[in-house]
Symmetry: C2
Subunit: 445 residues, 2 copies
Amino acid sequence: ARKDGAALRRALAPWLAEDLAPHLADLPVEQLAMLFRVGPPELVATTFAYVPLEVQKRLLKLLSQDQAAELLNSLPPDDRTAFLNELPLDLAMQMLALLSPAERQVAQALLAYPEHSVGRMMTLDYVAVRPEWSVREALDYIREHGYDRETLNVIFVVDTSGRLIDDVRVRRLLLSPLDRPVRELLDGNYARLRPTDDREHALELFRQFDRVALPVTDESERLIGIITVDDMLDVAAEEATEDIQKLGGTEALDEPYLTITLGRIVRKRASWLVVLFFGEMLTATAMAYFEDEIAKAVVLALFVPLVISSGGNAGSQAATLVIRALALGEFHVRDWWRVMRRELAVGVLLGLVLGSIGFLRIALWSAVSDVYGPHWLGVAGTVGCALVGVVLWGSLTGSMLPLVLKRFGLDPATSSAPFVATLVDVTGLVIYFSVALVLLRGTLL
Amino acid sequence: ARKDGAALRRALAPWLAEDLAPHLADLPVEQLAMLFRVGPPELVATTFAYVPLEVQKRLLKLLSQDQAAELLNSLPPDDRTAFLNELPLDLAMQMLALLSPAERQVAQALLAYPEHSVGRMMTLDYVAVRPEWSVREALDYIREHGYDRETLNVIFVVDTSGRLIDDVRVRRLLLSPLDRPVRELLDGNYARLRPTDDREHALELFRQFDRVALPVTDESERLIGIITVDDMLDVAAEEATEDIQKLGGTEALDEPYLTITLGRIVRKRASWLVVLFFGEMLTATAMAYFEDEIAKAVVLALFVPLVISSGGNAGSQAATLVIRALALGEFHVRDWWRVMRRELAVGVLLGLVLGSIGFLRIALWSAVSDVYGPHWLGVAGTVGCALVGVVLWGSLTGSMLPLVLKRFGLDPATSSAPFVATLVDVTGLVIYFSVALVLLRGTLL
């Protein structure tokens, strides 16, 4: 094994760990364990970060305690936080015990930040230089201390007490005369995050400023870590997943669909399904209220699903568009009137389209059969008018609900397609039968 | 004005264009126009890329033809492509005419790639060095030619005919002895894109390899451009928006909600709404088929919305989870059996939960009132059993439909919550009334 190890190390020597790691991470777990026992520590640590969680866990079990300790100690702090965060508490504690006192302190400090906060994603592998240094001194310092990944696109400038003065792109250093002081390259213009900021805020800043790394500072503006753009692509994907799952009427799974336990997925789906079911029970109440009308004119019952689902569909469209626009910052809650005016117009037009189709469908059918009875014209008129009302109402409800939720500090994505459909189903029934009572009085009712 | 211009240029001198631009882009359009008339060309071009499309258009109208031409010629090619792409064809042609012959050729070549392709997002501002150069020569070359943004984190190594040999991080150059040849820094390991690749493919590669820039090569492996990670954050947001809008049962808007014209938003929403309406018409047909049963037992009609919407909700959950898991690559179409097995279990459990609640609700109500008549137990049993069947059926339909769509090369996100709900509504009615025919024969029916 020792000979294999030496050969492996020779074969790996010309590669940069961060280039090789994504490829190695696809190896079967046994081969990974072998690599991890003999491979260079930096490569091992970088590769570990690319391995999926399930494999990471099995891998650590295949290593000796010493090997596991060495690996955990050499992991970049942000990757280690991400890994420990996914473990059950007891296992996480065992892992923390394997760390050296210094690394344990770092890990505990990062884990103390709330989930989905910037602090949890920080890495400490940044390069900080002093403003009075020359460009040459700064580049020499980087050449000596820049062995960590993720750091070298942006350099941070701090004062003697560690307070952030500015960030400066490596490009700026490279393009400047070597004897110029770093101070003269600064523009005093930087964006910074707090460790307690939500990671969505970080995502916004990255999108706005096109940076590859942003500094994180504490209350006294001391530089305590950085966030890098490669983590932001993962954040963007996770945040979109959460929103999409909520829009589908389920709690965010936070785990892959195929590996989440049956108990957990049922709980996450049942909670919303039961809430919606209780809401939908009101349709039975509403229908019972119009039971006499249904008994007199059974033909009315035939169009109940058609009418109420059209309102639900229009509402689901409006809710989805408004939720996404809110997430992208296209408008704010205070712009509700512009949204409502828009949905008033759209809702009327969409209602007229569906109402006309519904009217024509019943009229045409009645021309060739008598399935809708002698008062088909009244029925067609009722369905047509009810559709205009229900689609308009659905569009308004669907567009306003996310704004109301956001106004009260709730997540707008909670107003999912099924949630809006349920709301609109109940009110849609009332609209439909009220129209019927007006239009069909004296004929069918 | 000339004095103002000189003062402005002096004030702006210490800033790096890419740091200042995001802030300047928020200025009112008149001040922007003033800045654009006198500001340094690089700053003007960078700022223009950060300005929203509507403001970009107004800005160009405020500039003289010469000023507009200078601006367009100095825009980075990828930002120019993005801008021209959003213009109506006639306006885009006018803009193309303002370009110098060389820039026009570049712009036309980029615009010839399909929308949402890698070619449309390419930038040409990369630095390519030769393998036989020393690190010192490479760094000197960068210092001389690296004045463009977005380029300096990764350097590309090409042979005499421009074929890509490898990419190398600037970090690697900075950490190496100055007299070492570039050739010895190479690991022969790089990912590359084709200009015709879909931008989603680029997003996957960036996510997988944690790069800040990836090279684009033609069929003979010649380097023709690069893609940078900052554009990927925008791609991730746009792709998520498309998926979310489709899931909500509307065509992707491709424009902000508040600025898209009324005609366009109505067309995009009406198309799907009408399709769903035609589908939902089948509920009226199904209901008509059971008209005699409804006439005999009006109480059955009361629970129609409750039963069918529960199936739709369960189906919308399943569809959303499967669509997102497919988009994240968690599983593939060939894993359909694992998904179906999972939904069988989840569907039965969720159905039992809702079925029990439905049964109890009717039973309890009947204990205090006679709204459901003497045969309430049969009605409660019918609703309970139908709910189990409908929720299970909804879960199966919702989970399989995206897989079927994907299998036939269609976008799985087409199986939106409203689409699945419509499918399940029709079949849910058949399930409900069939259960009723079995359980209530001899009593109500």
